[in-house]
Amino acid sequence: MTTPMTPLAISACTVTSALGRGLAAQHGALLHGGSGLRPNDFGSAPRLGWIGRVDGVEAIALPATLADWDCRNNRLAWLGLQQDGFLDRVHAARARHGARRVALLLGTSTASIGATEEAYRRLDADGRFPADLRRPALHAPDSLSAFAAAALGLDGPCLTVSTACSSSAKVFASAARLLALGLADAAVVGGVDSLCDNVLFGFNALELISPSACRPFDAARDGISIGEAAGFALLERVEAAPRAPRLLGYGEASDAWHMSSPHPDGHGAELALDAALARAGLDAARVDYVNLHGTASRQNDAMEAALVARRFPATTRASSTKGFTGHTLGAAGIVEATIALQAIEHGCVPGNLGAATPDPDCGPQFAWQGESRRVDVALSNSFGFGGNNACLVFGRAP
């Protein structure tokens, strides 16, 4: 049986996506309905759908001491860490608790595989990686966390969670367990995924990419738009930041169904929801806003619309924000966690951008347009390949 957890303070957070750099850029775009999606102009995959690309990643220079980590994913991570004073907040937490007492738990689906792809495009005459890319730490699935640990000077427990599109939601669960057991006093959580040929051509091969900007929960939705993003949050015990918003609960569950499509009845998603609500000690009716996974794939949105319709009253508002950011894959959990936190902070529910003709299976919970209203409790859903589901509950400090 899942028992209530001790809430944790989210004492700082930040996000960088196609909507811009930092929380204010995201809030402004969500408020004014401006999508960050554009026709694909990335890499070897021109004209393959629309993408949520972060402007200026190519121009980011890592500090000289971190130069060996240079690649698109780590540039995006570094860009993200600079926003909203997040680096200073981590340094302060490190000074307060000690570098070995701050855990680092990051989610990513493909880490820096873009650098590995480039090495294969530029193999030398002997069939080896080109000399400038012979950097083993870059060609490993933990490269993001290893880079971030070096960049932040953290020496605590360090782990990469890579469960596809639920990765950077599940890191909140891992952090909550480490803090509950006294294995750390604070945790930096988050995730980064960046555009690369692997995901663009991979989702294209699965026929999951929309030829136009994605339309979550539209009756005629026809696939996802892939995006990239970096987001981070600092978790501490509530005594460290009593006024900060809180992580109230988390839930994780598996579908036991299929490698690349969700269970049609949403069994795993609902188990994750149940566990998250049980840890928060809340009924579904207490939830003011649900940020949906809402990828705009036929199957995900059908499953999730039915889940919302059967579990929440009409007073609960729900929307997908993938029409703004694209599907940022392993970073989606942290991006949408910051959106849920902004809904609480600013009292605004983002509209479900991109659905011109709502799917008739969607219930009255859907916020098709942005709404101004008080939000005390906000949920975020994240579901990944392999039937890997996570749900997070955030709340206002009492």
Binding site: A140, L159, A176, L181, G182, N198, A205, L206, F385, G386
Partner: protein, 263 residues
Amino acid sequence: MTPMYLHVEGIGLWSPRLADFAALRALLAGDTPAVPTAPTAVLLPANERRRAPESVRLAVEVAGQALAMSGRDPATLACVFASGHGDQAITDAICTTLARAPAELSPTRFHHSVHNAPAGYWTIATGCRAPSSAVCAGAYTFGAALLEAAAQAQAEQRPVLLVYSDMAGRGPLLEMTGCGRSFGCSLLLAPGASATPLAQLRLEASADHAASTPPPATLADEADGQPAGAALALLASLAGCGRRCRLALATALDLLIDMEPAA
């Protein structure tokens, strides 16, 4: 921190010369165990076994061994799958295709490339709807994954199946990973009272960092060039070689493990 006390209810193992934990015990006792066949992953339905990549068959094989020892119901058993390098053969194949003819990328190969492919296959094959995860931490993968699994078992008071595996790399990527041998192992960890304990572990994160317990010299082949060394040191302890193990957890942290064999 307060130490964590967990029972080991199952142990799985596969390497090119060790079919299971019993073979490891035999090897450490001076015997020469029979060379195993490729991992069979009997828990996968036959059609899935044909379709599953080698990395998945290896992980499912060792996971199934620990599960069988424990007698637990997999449907409600949380699991943490760890791999330092992921499926190197698939990464090699995908990057080769992307360099030559990206539009020819196979959809099956793509969905097999996710780090949680073994967790996905496992949960589907066993009907598991419990939490499942897929993690990595470079050279610290085993220690960090053990902490993740142990913390989940302790904080949520539920048994957790920890599975670590890395396969032999190939292609140009191999020079970067330096991992040329396959190895997998698993531990089923349970808090509280246990019906079938093999050993009890006391785990504590130390505030310092010292030399890790090395695996026995006879296991040097298994530990070659991959984050398996830490796992082998612990497995050797479980097989009776020493009661205390120090494993690297992160760049400046270790995990100290004391064990008591079951009475």
